[in-house]
């Protein structure tokens, strides 16, 4: 099984166009995608989604990152498991 990571369109804009989020954060998320996927649980508000949130440090900054996987987009015949980054919020680093 391999995890297919993708980012919401607006987040991609912030990574690749506005520069609001550092590319290092993208790399950090990609590095841990398997363990993040393994930590997904049933989203209490959305029956069709699994979700998990993580605090991730990158480029000396801390971010709250919300991940989800759409149960309807899992192809049982494929080895790929989709993981979408839904939202990112920069936090005050303690």
């Amino acid at each position: 099984m391999h995890v297919e990571l993708s980012f919401d369109l607006v987040l991609d804009l912030h990574f690749l166009v506005t520069g609001r989020f550092p590319i290092a954060l993208r790399d950090e998320i990609a590095k841990h995608k398997q363990e993040i996927y393994d930590g997904l649980t049933q989203d209490p508000d959305r029956p069709d989604m699994l979700s998990v949130a993580r605090e991730i440090d990158a480029a000396g900054r801390r971010f709250y990152v919300l991940f989800s996987s759409d149960k309807h987009q899992v192809d049982p015949d494929s080895d790929a498991r989709p993981l979408r980054v839904i939202d990112i919020i920069e936090m005050q680093k303690k």
Binding site: S6, V10, H72, Q73, I89
Partner: protein
Amino acid sequence: MTPLKSTQNPSLNALEEQLEFSNVTNVREKLLPLMDRLQENPPLRMIILKHGAPQAVLMSYQTYDTLKKLVDTLVKNNDALTQQQRVDAAYARLRAERGSSVRPAAEIGVNLDAQVEAAKVILNELQNMLAESQTKIQKLDRVLVQERTVAG
């Protein structure tokens, strides 16, 4: 330069309507005429390939300016939302992808048509290299024949 034929789904491939492919060497040699073409035809975009893979895009300043305004509008609209609205919108976009065998072009960089065109550019380069090699071999053959004649 390899023009790409327009595809069936205009909404998905809006940015690929007037797309051409070129390699770095070609762009380096023909940058000024290319810039003239962009001035004459602002929707034209040139994907620059390095070792056959897409690396950069050359576009008119008008196109860039329009895209910049579009991004600014999207970002401003998104920033005006509450966090809950933002998350709901992201989930709506995720659900909208269900059942689609074609992934958004932005996710994969270029679509299948674009990959075929990129392969054609590489094939063209290989053919040129092969032709050059054949010419060199023919020259070497001639030199060899001359040397043998002199030695004989």
